[in-house]
Subunit: 186 residues, 2 copies
Amino acid sequence: MKKTVSERADILPVLGEVFRAHGYEGATLALISEATGLGKGSLYHFFPGGKAQMAGEVLAEIDAWFEVNIFAPLRSAEDPARAIAAMLKGTEEYFRSGRRVCLVGVFALGAARDSFAAQVNDYFARWGDALALLLGRSGLSSSVARRRSEDAMLSIQGALVLARARDDAKIFSRAMAELKLRLLAE
Amino acid sequence: MKKTVSERADILPVLGEVFRAHGYEGATLALISEATGLGKGSLYHFFPGGKAQMAGEVLAEIDAWFEVNIFAPLRSAEDPARAIAAMLKGTEEYFRSGRRVCLVGVFALGAARDSFAAQVNDYFARWGDALALLLGRSGLSSSVARRRSEDAMLSIQGALVLARARDDAKIFSRAMAELKLRLLAE
DNA sequence: GACTCTCTGTACTGATCGGTACAATCTCCG
DNA sequence: CGGAGATTGTACCGATCAGTACAGAGAGTC
């Protein structure tokens, strides 16, 4: 048997795309095996906990990416307008301008939410907190900052749903552009 | 064997809840059978096309409900403010103030979108058109009306995702209240 | 070259998948 | 009351599910 020396770091993104495309229940081991090029032996070697562990680690990896590239910059930003623009640019790139779907959102809607409730909740909570903090620092009252940050979270998710529903990625880009104005208004 | 005289009309809503809760791929026939109280014999008697037909008819039923209770009133409304308030009230009730999820949105995000693309797209297209028409009649330019109606579609979907992700139905109610102001602004 | 330890493919498990077949029972209509 | 057609439960189908067992191959170490 050959040894393909697959790294965990190479596998997780592929796993992520499978879960994105088929959801938790739809992502069968056969699909995963095909997408990763790994047999069950390897899969269960890396993830003894099976599908649940795979999904959990994928979520954690996504969370870590957002923590580094989106949340942390938001928290430590000097210029609010610049920070918001950067956040929007980052999310637009991450979601491939609406052609890619949010795995956390997919899990949130499905039955998988129960199993991953903490991770799902945390992701949005930390994003929302970081954004609200920034908006607060830009002069908005904390209640307005809260409401606007919640509006941003929900607009991003909704734009992804609608873009995919109508098969029109431009919906997402339009929503991000409008969100930028709305976040900084007044 | 008894005859429970189950009406198609009684079955569809139950089917809808099963699909809502588990998604298309997650809704197994065993789950459906249990929820409806119907054996496979009855299920396949009513829906010879199996799961796909069930899902298709559920979508059609939902579409019909919205057509009658939301879209049509929007198109024929006299008073825009009143019509929007009615739409928001209707959707808030339908989605049980954020505790219920949108089946069309669930399908849109999953792999089932491909099979039901036309129905999924149509639902949002007709809602968006009806709302844009109304907003246009209220004096907004057609491009602004379009953008705002798109914003409404996406806010509803996003609010449902976020409410479920954070397990906080109030997010949905807040979003609907804010949407009302935003739709009628200026 | 032998000993590990890591990685991998394959064969297998029992359970469950969606779907079919069919006979038994019911309701309705005359 | 006696068919006819609608409705039902159950047994069954092959395929596929998630997961296990395990032997063999690779690489590193001595």
